[in-house]
């Protein structure tokens, strides 16, 4: 008689439990539409403590000038400002609400209050968004130019072909953005075709390029019928892209934290730890022989990172480029190790914050459906050409990933704040 199928009560119970359990752990964009849900309390606490620090430091600075303090104030100022705006908006909201609830309010005033309430409600989400943006610490390398490494992964020839297309995509993207690029290393595979990449490193020489391009690190997957396929089957191949920070030439770096010549810097590479080999060494040199071999191989002994370079006819130039790449890789590895620590910490609290490293599949390019999907932000663009031309499509995808990164950072920070309150001594060491 009943049309509703019977469900066992335990299953029913479990399904509600699962839904309740999962919700807070899936960070999803576009869900924060409510006025009050814009900021988590943990985040707000962090913002307040930073704003407090700002006012304390400002008081200090009024007494005696110190460059370091001034710099820190400069960093904190946007947070303090936005927090102030957010607070005043909230206050006026509360005031207006109490005005509305008060039965003694004049009807004319009431209509005005309703209008004001609407506009305040509108401005609050944007304010909390900008507060979030201000709270996210800048990536230490964001201002640097970057190196982009492209290497085919699984998929043989097809991966090499697609790697070449990615190289084209990024070079045209950069030229559209007005970034100057130069090819540091370009190796094509053996065989008749010239467009089968085996490794490429390009330098994007514009400040801020790392911040822009770092969304691209990871494994890019392609699904299509390759040119080399005779039976019309769709293949799936992978190309790995790595974005590394490129450090300015020695001496130029005014910021001591990034100056790799300074032994106290985090990114200092001890020349003693690097073995340098010429591909064919030994025997008489100088005027006696005219060596045309100019290949250089650098090995960083503690980490085992190897860089070999043979693109230029000059040994000197090859060595310079090899050092540049080695430094970038080491800096990236160190930064990654640091982030990993942080992630471990957050994972302990949150249960599992997704983190995309270089080993993860980040994006799929599907030729059959002419779509490009980014697996982090979840965005799908149905115009593959505009992505592969490095045009607006790619811009949109990268933009969505940047937003996703900010959300991740916020979620992580909220988790950290929670951890801080739960075990203050454990996090204090950070």
């Amino acid at each position: 008689m009943l049309n509703v199928p019977w469900i066992c009560s335990r299953c029913l119970l479990r399904s509600t439990k699962a839904a309740g359990y999962l919700r807070p752990f899936i960070p999803r964009r576009g869900l924060n539409t409510g006025v009050d849900t814009g900021l988590s309390p943990a985040l707000l606490i962090r913002a307040r403590s930073l704003a407090d620090e700002h006012s304390n430091l400002s008081a200090q600075l009024a007494e005696s000038f110190d460059a370091k303090t001034a710099k820190r104030i400069g960093e904190l100022a946007p947070i303090a400002n936005v927090l102030g705006e957010w607070d005043s908006a909230n206050e006026s909201l509360v005031e207006l609400k109490s005005l509305l609830e008060d039965p003694a309010t004049d009807p004319e005033l009431r209509s005005l209050a309703i209008e004001d309430l609407e506009s305040s409600k509108h401005s609050l989400p944007t304010l909390s968004d900008s507060l979030k943006q201000a709270l996210v610490p800048r990536h230490p390398f964001a201002e640097l130019p970057c190196l982009l490494e492209i290497r085919p992964g699984a998929g043989g020839d097809e991966a090499g072909l697609f790697a070449f297309e990615l190289l084209r995509m990024y070079t045209s993207f950069c030229s559209r953005q007005g970034f100057r690029t130069s090819v540091l290393k370009l190796e094509v595979g053996d065989g008749p075709a010239e467009d089968r990449l085996s490794e490429a490193v390009i330098e994007v020489d514009a400040s801020g390029a790392y911040g822009m391009m770092r969304t691209e690190s990871g494994v890019h997957r392609v699904q299509r019928v390759p040119a080399t396929e005779s039976k019309g089957r769709t293949h799936t191949s992978a190309v790995s892209v790595m974005v590394l920070p490129s450090f300015p030439d020695s001496g130029a770096g005014g910021d001591s934290a990034l100056n790799f010549d300074d032994p106290t810097s985090d990114y200092y590479v001890d020349p003693q730890e690097v073995r340098s080999e010429k591909m064919r060494a030994g025997g008489a040199g100088g005027q006696h022989v005219n060596k045309t071999e100019s290949a250089i191989r650098l090995t960083h002994i503690p980490s085992g990172i190897v860089v070999s370079m043979q693109d230029s006819r000059s040994q000197h130039a090859n060595r310079k480029k090899a050092w540049q790449i080695l430094r970038a890789r080491l800096a990236e590895a160190r930064q990654e190790a640091r982030e990993q620590e942080l992630v471990e910490l957050r994972r302990g609290v949150l249960g599992g914050v997704a983190r995309m490293g270089r080993g993860d599949k980040i994006r799929t390019y599907n030729y059959g459906q002419s779509r490009c999907t980014d697996h982090r932000s979840g965005i799908t663009i149905h115009n593959l050409d505009s992505v592969l031309d490095g045009g607006e499509g790619l811009d949109n995808v990268m933009d969505s990933v940047r937003t996703w990164l900010v959300d991740q950072e916020i979620a992580g920070m909220a988790a950290e704040e929670m951890a801080k309150r739960a075990h203050p001594q454990k996090v204090a060491t950070r």
Binding site: P271, Q272, E273, V274, R275, S276, E277, K278, A281, G282, G283, A284, G285, G286, Q287, H288, V289, N290, K291, T292, S294, L298, S312, R313, S314, Q315, H316, A317, R319
Partner: protein
């Protein structure tokens, strides 16, 4: 790449084939292509002029660092005057030009003079100056600050070529009231011994295609007659004498091996001792591989001799 017409492609293939054939005969790549990167510069290479080597490149870079270090430590020494650098046996001019490229950002005024006995080399060096100016590898200042002249470095009184001293008289920078002088003297003279030229130490391609004039010192000089100096070392003897006359504060020589470097240091010490100035000078030998961090120092490669005059003696 530009579009190529069928006829043009045919010509290209022909050219490529002839280049490959030349290379298979052992013609140095740099003579075929026409240039060689040297630091950030592009040095044109022509027959009858020695091709600049990678070791020379690292010695030049090292020399520029030494110059800057000296200026940093004693800013008062050369400030009123422009820095004077003399490059003897300049060949393609690679050393002189690279020094200007490396120093121009830090030093406001300088004069660099390259001297070579071969007119082909002097012409090519001037061409290299223009070439690198044209490509923007050198500052415009280089046009007035770097010069190349033909001259004889040896003291064998060959009347066909003016001696270094005579050439220097033309340059107001290098001669003042107190006579001739220069601050830095750098040289990569011919240093191959006649027997190692033939016994296989010297590469076949070098022996056949590169100028012997730039590789093996010629026999008839005063020094090796009188003082029993080995033929491969005669240039160092004469150049060091010039350096002492000019009062150079920093002298950088390239030589073929560690053994030769030790011999040359001995010769130089004798000369300095003869004019009672041995105490003022500090001698160092560095190997080209030793300059690069992380490379194991091997005994067989070329070395540079660095001779510095102590600051106290200048005052």
């Amino acid at each position: 790449m530009a579009k190529v017409t069928p006829g043009g492609r045919l010509q290209q293939n022909k050219l490529l084939r002839s280049m490959c054939r030349a290379r298979s005969r052992g013609v140095p790549l740099q003579y075929i292509i026409g240039d060689q990167p040297f630091g950030d510069l592009q040095i044109l290479c022509r027959r009858n002029v020695l091709i600049p080597r990678a070791e020379t490149e690292s010695f030049t870079v090292h020399a520029s660092k030494l110059i800057l270090k000296r200026l940093d430590e004693h800013p008062e020494v050369t400030n009123p005057q422009p820095l004077r650098i003399l490059d003897l046996c300049s060949g393609t001019g690679a050393i002189a030009l690279l020094l200007h490229a490396l120093l121009a950002n830090k030093i406001k005024q300088m004069t660099i003079l390259g001297i070579d006995i071969s007119s082909t080399a002097v012409t090519l060096a001037s061409k290299n100056l223009e070439h690198n100016l044209h490509h923007g590898f050198l500052l415009d200042r280089a046009r007035t600050e770097v010069h190349f002249r033909q001259g004889n470095v040896l003291s064998n009184h060959d009347s066909n070529f003016p001696h270094v001293d005579k050439v220097l008289h033309e340059f107001p920078g290098f001669c003042n009231q107190s006579g001739l002088g220069c601050d830095v003297l750098i040289s990569n003279p011919p240093y191959i011994a006649p027997n190692s030229f033939w016994d296989g130490t010297t590469g076949r391609s070098v022996r056949i295609y590169e100028p012997k004039l730039a590789l093996v010192p010629s026999l008839e000089t005063d020094a090796n007659m009188e003082e029993h100096i080995r033929q491969e070392d005669v240039f160092y003897h004469d150049i060091f004498q010039s350096a002492m006359r000019l009062g150079a504060k920093l002298i950088v020589f390239e030589c073929g091996s560690y053994a030769q470097a030790c011999r040359v240091v001995g010769i130089c010490e004798d000369i300095a001792g003869a004019c009672a100035r041995r105490e003022e000078l500090a001698f160092h030998i560095v190997s080209s591989s030793g300059l690069e961090p992380g490379t194991h120092i091997s005994g067989s490669g070329p070395c540079a001799i660095i001779i510095e005059r102590s600051m106290a003696s200048e005052a």
